[in-house]
């Protein structure tokens, strides 16, 4: 058992290093790029909604950043998911190892980027004279775990199925865009008209993203949204694992 865990850890470490290296090998400012993307987004939305459309909200820039950073993690992982197994075809065809380690490390790596971008949020907290909260100490790990499970589950499904239907990638990018606007990231959930509020609950991302934002801005964690998020994560993990189990032994055939 100990050996199995050691092997798993070794694999994850080496593969994560590999992923990080492959992605940033030829771009020196890899880290800066990963922060620049959500920052640029925040800037665009700030101009559009605050400057042009004069939205009534205090500290809108901070509000945007607190939601866009965790969203960026989700979007990066999801958009990367279809190609994960494809780009690792050489090792999948040659070596027998648990293939789910690949999406696992990919999501892990995106999570590491997100964690590294939290200091940027802190900078903005200072700019807007907001206090940091002790709730972050337990809230951040908790939300990290929930979001990691959710994305890992979805990644397993998407990356496995994409091997069989290679155009799933396009569907995913459309879905990501839709999901972005249906999730309260550039607007607050209480701005949604009452008759559509029910629909928000159907979106697995919305309780999670609002939890992140509330944690960052106010240091609060709402138990009920936390519970709903956790439930969605468990479902994603279960489905992801089932799909993976069913398809994984065919990977080497189809690649």
């Amino acid at each position: 058992m100990g050996i199995e865990i050691q092997r798993f850890v070794d694999l994850v470490v080496v593969l994560t290093q590999k992923e990080l290296k492959v992605r940033y090998k030829s771009s020196l400012f890899g880290y800066l790029w990963s922060v620049a993307h959500p920052l640029a987004f925040a800037f665009v939305f700030f101009i559009a909604f605050k400057v042009v459309m004069k939205i009534q909200m205090e500290d809108y820039a901070l509000f945007l950043i607190a939601g866009l950073f965790p969203w960026q993690w989700f979007a990066n992982s999801l958009n990367g998911a279809p190609g994960i197994f494809l780009s690792n075809a050489p090792i999948i065809k040659k070596v027998n190892f648990p293939r789910n380690i690949i999406p696992f490390t990919a999501v892990l790596q995106d999570m590491i980027h997100f964690i590294l971008s939290i200091p940027v949020i802190i900078v903005f907290m200072f700019i807007y004279h907001r206090p940091l909260s002790f709730a972050w100490l337990y809230g951040i790990p908790l939300l990290l775990l929930i979001q990691f499970s959710l994305i890992y589950g979805i990644s397993l499904v998407v990356s496995s199925i994409n091997l069989f239907f290679r155009d799933l990638e396009r569907l995913i990018s459309i879905a990501t865009t839709l999901l972005f606007y249906f999730t309260p990231i550039i607007y607050a959930e209480n701005m949604v008209p009452d008759k559509y509020k029910m629909l928000l609950k159907l979106n697995p991302l919305s309780p999670l993203m609002t939890s992140w934002r509330n944690l960052f801005l106010h240091g609060t964690l709402d138990i009920s949204s936390l519970a709903v998020s956790a439930l969605y994560s468990c479902a994603a993990l279960l489905i992801g694992h089932a799909v993976y189990k069913k398809l994984s032994w065919k990977f080497a055939e189809i690649l």
Partner: protein, 434 residues
């Protein structure tokens, strides 16, 4: 007895033809009925009913034409593919599949790829780093080791590949067509390394088109032909058979009990049949290539043997009479032992007290044998006679068959020609290389 570390037990592997769906979800959904249909029905069979085993410390070669199923066999051993039928047992840590370009990530440097492959194949990071120097030195890549693998020539990739698997303490080494590239010096080094492994009890499975190397390196060879196991055995013999190209039937060759069993069962049941999987005979274990045919013989009551089957013993004419009469009874859906026959002896050397009297009489009744005077019951059956007898039992005297000779050693003027041709048409005999 030597330990078997790789066992293929009646393994078949077929793939669905995935191109119907990798064309995309959109196309799949818009042509759903056709797509489902083709997914179900169009399969590509890469290996059919393969049984063999490799002993610990043995160097085992697999040869065959392109597309014969060699790489699929290696994939099954490596555990990246699963058999569609049968079981593959592998005992020991298998090296990554060593073929051109192996499991390398083009963007990573040679050094990083060494670590990646080492950990993937089951070693700890610590072990891999301790061997890093040794691997780099063996690879002769020098400063290139820190360059991305995409900048390597194919010879350099092969060098790196062999260095990785050869220096990671493999228990089972899989090598697919790698020594063809790389310079002569390095090829020599590889061959030496493999010789060193043989001394250390490392099992090597080697797939190659380079017959000289195969013969030099391997203890035994499996020849895959058209997705089936054609021949297993001594490298010299198998390679000689393989290289000669045109197949021979060996009409004057002796028939063994196992061969006869295979032919009878193929004629009766084709290739797809059910059989008892618990071995009946201690000398025909389930790893034997023709295990299922022998089992079926017993299932159907064509053989009454128990305990031992003596698969390699020759078949005499009286024994064959018994086998064929029973088979013919089963073909007619009759009890194999319950038939009527002429009680006046046809032959001077087969008396009514003889153990096989009834079968030989029956054979003559049915005109399966046409000889008169002496039957020579104790004479060993030749392959030509066997073809004639089986042909008559199953297809009678008039049937259509391919006129162009299948085998180099059975010509149209030969008595057995039409039967041999027919048996080949029906897929009952495969023949051997000359």
């Amino acid at each position: 007895m030597r330990e078997q570390v790789i066992i293929f037990d009646d393994v078949s592997k077929s793939y669905p033809l995935y191109h119907h769906i990798t064309g995309g979800l959109k196309r799949f959904l818009f042509n759903l009925p056709q797509a489902m249909n083709s997914l179900k029905n169009s399969r590509f069979e890469a290996l059919r009913d393969i049984s063999f085993h490799v002993y610990k410390g043995e160097s085992f070669g697999i040869i065959g034409r392109n597309g014969a199923g060699k790489s699929t066999a290696l994939g099954l051993i490596a555990g990246v593919l699963k058999p569609s039928k049968g079981t593959v047992t592998v005992r020991g840590r298998v090296s990554p599949l060593l073929e051109l370009g192996m499991g390398f990530q083009p963007e990573l440097s040679g050094r990083e790829n060494i670590v990646l492959n080492g950990v993937l194949s089951g070693l700890s990071r610590k072990t891999v780093s301790s061997k890093l120097g040794q691997i780099i030195e063996f690879s002769e890549l020098g400063d290139f080791i820190d360059q991305p693998v995409r900048t390597y020539s194919s010879g350099m990739v092969a060098k790196l590949g062999f260095s990785v698997v050869a220096n990671l303490d493999p228990e089972i080494l899989l090598i697919d067509e790698v020594l063809a590239v790389g310079d002569i010096e390095f090829q020599k080094k590889c061959v030496n390394k493999m010789a060193e492994f043989r001394g250390k009890g490392v099992t090597i499975v080697f797939v190659s088109h380079g017959m000289v190397q195969v013969e030099k390196i391997c203890d035994r060879i499996l020849w895959l032909d058209n997705h089936e196991a054609n021949m297993t055995g001594d490298p010299k013999e198998v390679i000689a058979a393989y290289s000669s190209g045109k197949m021979g039937y060996y009409p004057s060759g002796r028939v063994t009990r196992e061969q006869l069993s295979v032919f009878i069962i193929r004629a009766l049941c084709g290739e797809n049949f059910t059989f008892t999987t618990t071995p009946y005979f201690s000398d025909v274990p389930s790893t034997e290539t023709f295990f299922r045919h022998v089992q079926k013989m017993k299932d159907l009551g064509i053989t009454g043997a128990s305990g031992m089957y003596y698969p390699n013993d020759n078949v005499t004419r009286e024994q064959m009479a018994a086998f064929l009469v029973r088979a013919s009874q089963i073909k007619a859906k009759q009890d194999p032992e319950n038939f009527s026959y002429t009680t006046t002896p046809y032959f001077s050397d087969v008396l009514s007290t003889d153990q096989f009297f009834r079968y030989i009489q029956k054979l003559r009744d049915d005109s399966i044998t046409t000889v008169t005077g002496n039957y020579n019951p104790n004479e060993v059956v030749t392959r030509a006679q066997m073809a004639t007898f089986i042909g008559r039992v199953f297809y009678g005297e008039s049937f259509t068959y391919t006129k162009k000779p299948w085998f180099s050693d059975v010509a149209p003027m030969d008595d057995c020609f039409k039967y041999v041709q027919k048996l080949r048409d029906e897929g009952i005999v495969a023949g051997y290389g000359n």
